[in-house]
């Protein structure tokens, strides 16, 4: 039952190359080079040693970054993929090395991040014998990969790798895992070169664009009085930011973003009306239930965005643009499905929509925003009380970076605050674990983000809880000399859980009180400079020091212990029941 045969993949071209005898491991490295891989995040071990041995000879052509934990490796690859738009590559050994990837695979699958993970595996003849460091990686990773495959023969490697990259990055991107038994890494075979893959007969990455639906969508939009665009990461994954901007500008439609779509349109664009969802902005949530045509672009109606589904946009006609046909009608019934790559469908739509301005309607969003400023935002960003708020830290950060930085966030209150308030001038500037909500994501993802976009400033905003999940990756920063600004917002609590306990569990604070080490000292141990700011007076200088420091820097800011993130759509409530306090 060997799958990778030439009837299922078609080579782009048949380059005439000399056949030479190579090991599987070396063929693997050559395949990576063929895919123009420049960076690998990895961690060696027994079952992947031949690959590391082959890598030794290619040190000048590909940079391997030694992480401190495989989870750190895969999150770094995710950050890399998201800042650069390229495929992130991970190496890990068999057994525990491979199982340490699971969280990152699940995260990358739900957030559609293109990755190729290579895991070593025990010798083929030992499969199923409970051999040392054997784990059934193909079965374990089936639910959390877009595709996976076990290689037991060296000669499969060039074709499987080509397939892996093609699958990871085409259509709706996702993580691919290739498990290679040690014998296949060692085995010599006649290597005839690598061929890129651009077709697999059973796989349709892009659905056919249907003109009639584009026409119907345009007609709905042209007739609409209160059209509302909500966009997600699909705009970024499709590199369709310009097409998106042209569309909303011509049609004059207010547009709001999911957390994964942040940055596709600059924060200060006049039609950018803010964030959707549980901790999103007031107007976009309330007006979702008032618009007459809802145009969803590259987003998947996650429950954190929709709130209670049976009370979600029931009055609206829904147009859904998505590359993944299974997303259409999955959560929200569509009036017009526009499946396809939005880089292709948006310009078609733009051509058919009338030039319009929905001034009064847009003003409504701005009025709601003003209410939100009065009720929440002003006090959050410019507090009059003593303790520092997370919002004011982000506000000060904005003032210094001017919105030019990549902001990587962990998971919790600080994530919501950072995503709500961070100014983003550019696309691929907001890197967060949206779908899985993985604490511990930010530090390694920031490392990868910096490697993927070396010219940009990368700030990792992390809670005191999440930082303690993956802080060992400061070792990676130290060894590979990566410039990441670490901004810890320390509220001495697992803040988001505490907020829920306060609001929904009668303030019964069950195990949310978390202690921290002296982070500045810990960072110092890794050769990373830093300081702790406990008073407002020191905040601006601290941030300036962090951003102007040459190399990595850790800034710990002590914020109010019991602040809550608002607005909030409580779980099980409709988006229009959003609470300002």
């Amino acid at each position: 039952m060997k799958q990778v045969t030439s009837n299922t993949t078609t080579p782009v071209a048949e380059p005439k190359k000399e056949v030479k005898s190579l090991s599987g491991a070396e063929a693997l490295i050559l395949s990576l080079l063929e895919e123009e891989v420049e960076h690998i995040f990895g961690y060696p071990g027994g079952a992947i040693m031949p690959v590391y041995d082959a890598l030794y000879d290619y040190n000048d052509r590909v940079e391997h970054i030694l992480v401190r934990h495989e989870q750190g490796g895969i999150h770094a690859a995710q950050g890399y993929a998201r800042s650069s738009g390229r495929v992130g590559v991970v190496f890990a050994t068999s057994g525990p090395g491979a199982t340490n990837l699971i969280t990152g695979l699940a995260d990358a699958l739900i957030d559609s991040t293109p990755l190729v993970c290579i895991t070593g595996q025990v010798y083929a003849h030992l499969l199923g014998t409970d051999a040392f460091q054997e784990a059934d990686v193909i079965s374990i990773t089936a639910p959390v990969t877009k595709w996976n495959y076990q290689v037991t023969n060296a000669d499969e490697i060039p074709e499987v790798l080509a397939k892996a990259f093609y699958i990871a990055k085409s259509g709706r991107p996702g993580p691919v895992l290739i498990d290679i038994t040690k014998n296949a890494q060692l085995q010599k075979f006649d290597f005839a070169g690598c061929k890129r893959c651009d077709h697999i007969r059973s796989y349709r990455p892009k659905p056919l664009v249907r003109k009639e639906y584009i026409e119907q969508a345009a007609e709905l939009i042209n007739k609409a009085e209160k059209p509302f665009v909500i966009w997600g990461q699909g705009v970024i994954l499709g590199s369709a930011e310009q097409e998106f901007k042209a569309f909303i500008e011509k049609a004059g439609i207010p547009a709001a973003w999911t957390i994964m779509g942040a940055g596709a349109l600059p924060s200060d664009h006049n039609q950018n009306v803010g964030m959707l969802g549980m901790h999103g902005n007031y107007g976009p949530n309330v007006l979702t239930n008032e618009c007459d045509v809802l145009i969803a672009i590259g987003m998947r109606f996650d429950d954190r965005v929709t709130g209670r589904l049976d009370k979600y946009a029931k009055q609206a006609k829904v147009i859904h643009l998505d590359i993944d046909p299974s997303e259409i009608d999955k959560n929200v019934k569509t009036t017009v499905p526009v499946w396809g790559d939005c880089k292709e469908t948006l310009p078609m739509l733009t051509q058919l929509v009338e030039q319009k301005r929905h001034e009064a309607w847009l003003q409504k969003f701005k009025d709601y925003y003003q209410q939100e400023v009065d009720a929440v935002i002003r006090e959050e960003l410019f507090p009059t009380s003593d303790g520092m708020t997370m919002g004011e830290v982000i506000q000060q950060l904005n003032e210094i970076t001017g919105g030019e930085a990549i902001v990587v966030t962990d998971v919790g209150q600080h994530q919501m605050v950072a995503c709500r308030y961070a100014k983003l001038n550019h696309t691929r500037s907001n890197i967060t674990s949206g779908g899985l909500g993985t604490m511990g994501f930010a530090l390694p993802a920031a490392i990868g983000a910096k490697v993927g976009a070396p010219a940009r400033t990368v700030v990792a905003v992390i809670g005191d809880g999440g930082f303690q999940m993956t802080l060992q990756e400061m070792g990676t920063i130290m060894q590979s000399n990566i410039d990441v600004k670490i901004l810890i917002l320390n509220n001495q609590f697992l803040g988001m859980v505490r907020q829920w306990q306060e609001l929904f569990h009668d303030r019964r604070y069950s195990f949310v009180n978390i202690q921290s080490p002296d982070y500045v000292q810990v960072a110092k141990g890794y050769g990373i400079s830093g300081q702790k700011v406990s008073e407002r007076e020191g905040l601006k200088a601290g941030l300036q020091e962090m951003l102007s420091h040459k190399g990595s820097y850790l800034l710990e800011v002590m914020v109010t212990r019991e602040n809550n993130v608002f607005p909030m759509v409580p779980q099980g409530c409709s988006v229009s029941e959003i609470r300002l306090q």
């Binding site: 079965s139 059973s202 892009k206 056919l208 046909p325 299974s326 009608d329 009036t335």
Partner: protein, 202 residues
């Protein structure tokens, strides 16, 4: 809502055309288990095309759920196409084997008559036991269990369901479209979306 669901639920026959790939059965099975959906019957076999496998899966669900499940199945890289059909849309059969003590059959003419009436065929006769086979719908194969129980039914087994789609003209033409590089209407069509009347209400 749950009672309404109950009314809408019925048996659906899912037909999946796939490449022949180790691990694909698992990938398809976990699409159901993740959603806590019981697979009533599952059969894999070759199809009319060499190298292409065919899955027949039966679940008891609402059309809404079946439609989404098929969408998820089609997302698998090695899946070419997934269809779903009600029982009315397919010709289907299951096969059952029954082992009974030969001495009872030999003694009782009644048993022989019952077997004949139920369309059972003898597969093996040994001194100690006889194996019968019937093919048909669930009620028919079930019926014979009841009939044979009083006569000391030793063993019973029923196969998964296999089903042929009445309206299908096979997969050959479709496959040729799949082999083309450019997507063609045929390939990307999503039957359920195309036939939705709701799409056009404006």
């Amino acid at each position: 809502m749950s009672s309404q669901n109950h009314i809408e639920r019925q048996e659906y026959n899912i037909t999946v055309y796939t490449e022949n790939q180790i691990g694909l059965l698992n990938r398809i099975a976990i699409i159901f288990s993740r959603r806590k959906i019981n697979i009533e019957s599952l059969n894999t076999s070759p199809s009319e095309i060499e190298g292409i496998h065919r899955f027949n899966i039966v679940i008891h669900e609402t059309e809404e759920v079946v439609r989404k499940i098929c969408g998820q199945i089609e997302k698998q890289v090695e899946v070419l196409k997934a269809y779903y059909n009600t029982n009315e849309d397919v010709i289907w059969q299951e096969m059952a084997l029954y082992k009974v003590p030969t001495e009872v059959i030999a003694e009782k003419a009644l048993v022989e008559r019952l077997l004949r009436e139920n369309g059972a065929r003898v597969v093996v006769i040994r001194k100690d036991y006889t194996v019968f086979e019937t093919t048909g719908h669930r009620e028919e194969t079930d019926n014979l269990i009841k009939v044979l129980q009083p006569f000391g039914l030793i063993e019973f087994v029923r196969s998964a369901r296999i089903a042929i789609i009445k309206a299908s003209d096979g997969f050959n033409r479709k496959l040729r479209e799949f082999e083309k590089r450019e997507p063609h209407q045929e390939v990307v069509e999503n039957e359920y979306l195309n036939s939705r009347d709701k799409v056009f209400t404006m």
